[in-house]
Symmetry: D3
Subunit: 338 residues, 6 copies
Amino acid sequence: MPKIIAAFGEVMMRLQVPGYDLLSQGNTLNYTFSGTGVNVISALSRYGHTGYLISRLPSNSLGDAAAAYLRKLGVDSTFIHRGGNYLGMYFLENGFGARSSRVTYSNRLESSFNTAPESEYDYANIASRIDAVHFCGITLAMNDGVRRHMKSLAQAVKEHGGTVIFDCNYRPSLWGEEGYTKAKPHYEDMLKLADIVIMNEKDALFTLGLETEKIEREDQLIDLIPVVAKRYHIQVIAGTHRAVNHNNTHTLRGFLFKNDHFVFSDELTFSVYDRIGAGDAFASGIIHGEMEGLNPNQTVQFAAVAGMLAHTVSGDTPMASEADILRAMTESVGDVER
Amino acid sequence: MPKIIAAFGEVMMRLQVPGYDLLSQGNTLNYTFSGTGVNVISALSRYGHTGYLISRLPSNSLGDAAAAYLRKLGVDSTFIHRGGNYLGMYFLENGFGARSSRVTYSNRLESSFNTAPESEYDYANIASRIDAVHFCGITLAMNDGVRRHMKSLAQAVKEHGGTVIFDCNYRPSLWGEEGYTKAKPHYEDMLKLADIVIMNEKDALFTLGLETEKIEREDQLIDLIPVVAKRYHIQVIAGTHRAVNHNNTHTLRGFLFKNDHFVFSDELTFSVYDRIGAGDAFASGIIHGEMEGLNPNQTVQFAAVAGMLAHTVSGDTPMASEADILRAMTESVGDVER
Amino acid sequence: MPKIIAAFGEVMMRLQVPGYDLLSQGNTLNYTFSGTGVNVISALSRYGHTGYLISRLPSNSLGDAAAAYLRKLGVDSTFIHRGGNYLGMYFLENGFGARSSRVTYSNRLESSFNTAPESEYDYANIASRIDAVHFCGITLAMNDGVRRHMKSLAQAVKEHGGTVIFDCNYRPSLWGEEGYTKAKPHYEDMLKLADIVIMNEKDALFTLGLETEKIEREDQLIDLIPVVAKRYHIQVIAGTHRAVNHNNTHTLRGFLFKNDHFVFSDELTFSVYDRIGAGDAFASGIIHGEMEGLNPNQTVQFAAVAGMLAHTVSGDTPMASEADILRAMTESVGDVER
Amino acid sequence: MPKIIAAFGEVMMRLQVPGYDLLSQGNTLNYTFSGTGVNVISALSRYGHTGYLISRLPSNSLGDAAAAYLRKLGVDSTFIHRGGNYLGMYFLENGFGARSSRVTYSNRLESSFNTAPESEYDYANIASRIDAVHFCGITLAMNDGVRRHMKSLAQAVKEHGGTVIFDCNYRPSLWGEEGYTKAKPHYEDMLKLADIVIMNEKDALFTLGLETEKIEREDQLIDLIPVVAKRYHIQVIAGTHRAVNHNNTHTLRGFLFKNDHFVFSDELTFSVYDRIGAGDAFASGIIHGEMEGLNPNQTVQFAAVAGMLAHTVSGDTPMASEADILRAMTESVGDVER
Amino acid sequence: MPKIIAAFGEVMMRLQVPGYDLLSQGNTLNYTFSGTGVNVISALSRYGHTGYLISRLPSNSLGDAAAAYLRKLGVDSTFIHRGGNYLGMYFLENGFGARSSRVTYSNRLESSFNTAPESEYDYANIASRIDAVHFCGITLAMNDGVRRHMKSLAQAVKEHGGTVIFDCNYRPSLWGEEGYTKAKPHYEDMLKLADIVIMNEKDALFTLGLETEKIEREDQLIDLIPVVAKRYHIQVIAGTHRAVNHNNTHTLRGFLFKNDHFVFSDELTFSVYDRIGAGDAFASGIIHGEMEGLNPNQTVQFAAVAGMLAHTVSGDTPMASEADILRAMTESVGDVER
Amino acid sequence: MPKIIAAFGEVMMRLQVPGYDLLSQGNTLNYTFSGTGVNVISALSRYGHTGYLISRLPSNSLGDAAAAYLRKLGVDSTFIHRGGNYLGMYFLENGFGARSSRVTYSNRLESSFNTAPESEYDYANIASRIDAVHFCGITLAMNDGVRRHMKSLAQAVKEHGGTVIFDCNYRPSLWGEEGYTKAKPHYEDMLKLADIVIMNEKDALFTLGLETEKIEREDQLIDLIPVVAKRYHIQVIAGTHRAVNHNNTHTLRGFLFKNDHFVFSDELTFSVYDRIGAGDAFASGIIHGEMEGLNPNQTVQFAAVAGMLAHTVSGDTPMASEADILRAMTESVGDVER
């Protein structure tokens, strides 16, 4: 049964040099609007849920363009406030083969979202109207005001019996020097409030400071994730292991830990067209599976295939419908559909 | 020696989202005009033959644009009539890797071609001016009016001593439910009139209802094609086996059956840029070989390489010249030509 | 106070050759989705109202793209059904100076909207949830099924105390030979149900068959509109007189007849960038004024300026906000806003 | 009754910076293929005639592209030879308002056309298959080889009873210093062979060295054209007077002198989108009128309107059909055609 | 004789929606890099001078792209420092006719330029290597750090015998509430240091608080400018009066006050393609005239025509060479240059 | 320590059909300006050196555009002369998979560079201001005038104690029939003047006519390069072996011979986006290593990686900075950099 799911997060303007040119070679940019919350909610709306974004956009042409774009993606704008002056932006230069993609950020700390006043959002009202809410570690890195909004909203949703989802998504460049130390208490606050968490062993090791004697990633994962789940009382922990191969392909394998059991998706290897945002597609699959009551095997496989397909479309935001994902879970790559 | 060859078939407008965007992501379309007959005739004109299309286009801007585009492709427009109101169209969203390409058709049953009145074409006059004529199973799926045109023209060409070519090209979505049953009598009519047929074992099994105990595709082919040739008195039957690989490559192998002997092309594996229409390039190679009197080995190899090269250019219509194909038959992939 | 307003109408795909090329010169098309109802509702959403479209889109990629585009325009999709196979389309070649723009339609009679079954829409439910509904003469020209939907819905809205708006919008090419005779009874049915009507003296003369001895357009208008209002019990009749000038400018003057009085807007002369859909912007202004209870002078001036601004943006759909229109009503053309 | 008309002339590649950028600002070019002969013949094919171009293109990708483009324009390629290595090119930067358009040529003297060997064209065969042939003063400026081809072909056509058309089209930059002196004998050779000549009083004054005491352009025209017609035994002389106005409009008036009488077209003022090649549209109208036996008034009006419409489409080559021109001769500028 | 001229100012990234779309309609942006100093220096380099920009760009891809673009414009980058993280940006939506252009700024206060540390620039070294330096009121509006740089550098240039140029360029939105009061002392500091000032009567009235009883702009100008020149010991004051007309044209007239005399340029009316940055072209003309020792009449006419031509090219930065301007000063609008 | 390095060579305009279209399919071209000297010098400027190009461009829009583009690439234009009329051009159609890329040249023999008069360049002045100069075999193939400039300048630099670099770069199509015989004396002249030479065993065998009994490329290399170094007194000889693989990848291995020792880079295999100009990136790496005094192993590895990265960006000209290359030498292919 479809649910009502919200995400709290910033909307970013993505400005991408077309093709494989550098910013110093090109003279046009393609622009879209995205963000972890946008991506997750848009994907969930494609699976049949109602999805809200809780955010704040400037009252100018950029804000109008972002709001229109989000509606196009299927995001309900009831809880998108307008105010402030700026929108966070990032520039993307696509890599090719031996040359990596490169992201350059504008100053997002002054954005409408990151400067929302304390009284901006009505936590109780929102919490009363949704079944679940999604947060992400990128937002957690911004500033105290935003962190207060996050924790207050998570608290309110928990109190109303809703599900709290948290994607760790630690970005070193956002936390700066001694980032793990700064981040740990905030991550712990969120983990205590969360029912579903997206993370892997690296978060446990570096952000939470857990220790293991294991050396292989998978062994560390199996060692540490149960500890995290127990310590913070988390019902579901899911995540991926990714490998970047030399021939423009990536390899991805999802895991899901629930009721003291691990399940794993198939290991998927596929050509990559646009890598950004694919992690959010995986998260959307986990949320969908949990909300719909799929069994863990189905959920992690759905999530992994959702993640794979998100690498095959342009833009940060997943575009696959539930039917597209189910078809890709069962069929091999086909000839033209006509 | 160059021949005069005609094709009878519909002209479609192809509207393609550029790059790898979906229709719901993009805002521009690239358009071209194509069709099985267009593709075959254009290719044959590049090999030095004179090529006519026998078709009907609307008397409006779309018809003007299609007519101009066909001339550009090297198609002689003497037998392209103007009348009716509509042009068939299809929208193409390019797949990438694990995501298949997707074709969406507009309503083509009301097209100028598919509503041509009974007296539209002067079969005898056309037949008297050409050496060979090409038909295709897509046209056969349209309606009774078009089928009457096809059979009457094939009959007329046969009576004038010309060669009749028929490409089975069965499309399930066009015939609807119980399609094979509906299609069989019409296919049999065309096969009886045809001298050269493009098909493989699937057509024999499903459309013609032949049976075999063999399981492997190739064994079925060798079992069934001679039966078809004998039953319908067909001089040449040719076709391909195609495999879609995981890394954006396809594998193709052509066969040709003539005088009770099979010959096969090399098995070719190659990167795919635009798959649509590549089957028509193979057909054009078979026709060219037969018209020029090449030996079967040369013919099937020429056709397979023509098919391979058609996957490397944009659009449905093959662009390789005879010289390009001959070079690709003998040389390995090279560095820049300068 | 913002209202809830719906429109019943077809969604068309607009395929425009960029710049001033002809279809036979270009190779790309810009596509958008529009329609009289879409345009009116999108404009009303920009003035702060909630706007629904009541329509039907195919269950394929084109339908997905149209639905996403409509959401982007601010149209609420609650009453947009999915079913059927085709979308109506039109191709636009922009004119320049002495060369007129040219529109070429695809076959729209088989569209999802025009083949909606009799039980498709729940008139009573819709009527119970809206304050007003908009219809247009283009829809009336389609077929009996669509006309039944129109009249049943108008009846239901009237019964629920809602406002019925009808834009005459007679298109000769859609009604064919003896069109006025065929159209008259259907127009009369709608006029009897309508509270607000968009028309001018030409509709009275040609479609309704009224007569006048006056020769000048304005005299005819003043002679005939009161007769129409009285005969069909219409509260508000509004419309425009347009002149196409030689230097790429148009001249527009709006009128509004209510309570036995005519009011007129200023006569506006302005450069034209994209003329299509500008009439819908005028209609949206009349509806807004009436819904908000503006006085007739304000309403007709707002509508005329809304119409003028709609000529300055690309696409069929007006993009001006209420604030943009109010600013343009009071200020002269300015330098860059920064 | 449609005629068979050929033109002898060079094909140029036009490389245009899109919009109003300079070459040092942009990074893309739009390319087309044109030339005086191409433009005239393409226009005549749109009026229903069969049109050949007699020319020579290189045997490489550029030649292939040019040949395909010419077919698209409706030019029959029977007499287009392939050989040599280069194609003439020019770069176009569009002017705007107070800034003039700017053309930069590549080296065209080594082009395939301008280096065609003496035995390249079979004059007698060509002459025996056409009703008329068109030449232009630009070709006359190239080199002795090309001039020999021109004169020999004109001679052959005259001997076969065909009509010889010559457009003076004097370009100072092509003839260099003391250009008029160098050009005069060649112009006189062509004028003696010509039946229809496109020129105005400037050609008479500067190239032919005639004298008049009149000061106004029109008086000079009326004074000098009859002298030219008599001296060189020319049946029809036609041409235009053009004024470039300040607001991106031009004013054009055509004249035609025949049987000792002058007729003039209306003076037409219109917005200009692409000025290049518009003179060829006027010439095509004069040729069409003469070939079809229209009366001089009809001919000069048809030619002037053809010229006007050629300013409203992109590219050097006129795109208007006979129907488009006839409609523009009778109707005022209209609203959208749909 | 060519001089060595520097400008001190910020580099902005301009992100423009192509054509006439709004940000909420489009999906691509054209980007360039500009700024008052960039525009003036680039223009001066086209007149033969050596031009430096004194500025600071971030050490990332955006900074690399900006630096490359400035070199392309002819700006010498010797004094462009690299450091800090952000680049100022603005988004431009082109107006059309009755709809004004709209500029939306990103947060520029954190830009590399506006956060340059106190010791960033070596004033004495720069001053010793240049003949003149240009400053602008936009920079003056930023913050105290930037204002200190401006005044220190102006002081240093003055001490080394160089010419100080100041363009008042008051932007209300940058100074905020009570802006004139905040701005006045800083403007006075700069005027006292300046030799050449670009301003008009509005700056005298509003920023400097002078008073006049005159009502017409021109009378106010003649009344106030001599007072300003005397009070602040300014050798040359120049500026423009601009009118925005209804038909996409502007009217411009330049003035220059020197040695107690006013001179005026012709009043120029012209079509406008891209208005932004045209004021900088006028300034560049004044500087060029003064540096080259032209008489005031020549200078103001050169500057006004430079300003006019800057409206006819895309981008903020003037592209006309000295020869282009001289030609436009003497000739009327012409046909194609070839 | 950064050096001052010049290259002597022609600037070519590259006109590339976007994507994978043929010239006969497309209608737009992307243009850039390049040349062996441009590429080498631009790369060296990215490594921190000052780089001059010694060349000649036409005094028209094409020359202006080329000059601006070269500045953007980081090339100092002090020694770029303006004069003559034409610019060399080439058209590029990108190959895909089994279809090779194709280059078509315009007539470059009449270019400004190739027609520079004997007194054009001041060899002594240039030689006195630079540390090294780069020449290439393409220039050597042009004509006697250009060859005289090359040898005179090389002589002058040698006399001033500078380093002479020569890249053999033999192009068969430029030398025509019996090309090796014609080329040999000129190559020998340059080799005698050169300190650093880019070549491999093919140049030794075919151009210089050396002989070996070895069969494998590598054995031939090891046999012949020392002979060349000794015979012509060359300090450093470097070059590459390249293999074109079937899956759109190339394999590259660099060598460097100095002080009687060979060193080799890793064998690198990588996906290819734009192959043209990658050889110049390798050369730039060798020059950088030698100028900076790196050890031969570092130099050849730096050069090979510079070559590899040049295949991953569009255009002929390498875009990697020294930091980019050093990073790619040490790290494996990574995920997005953000």
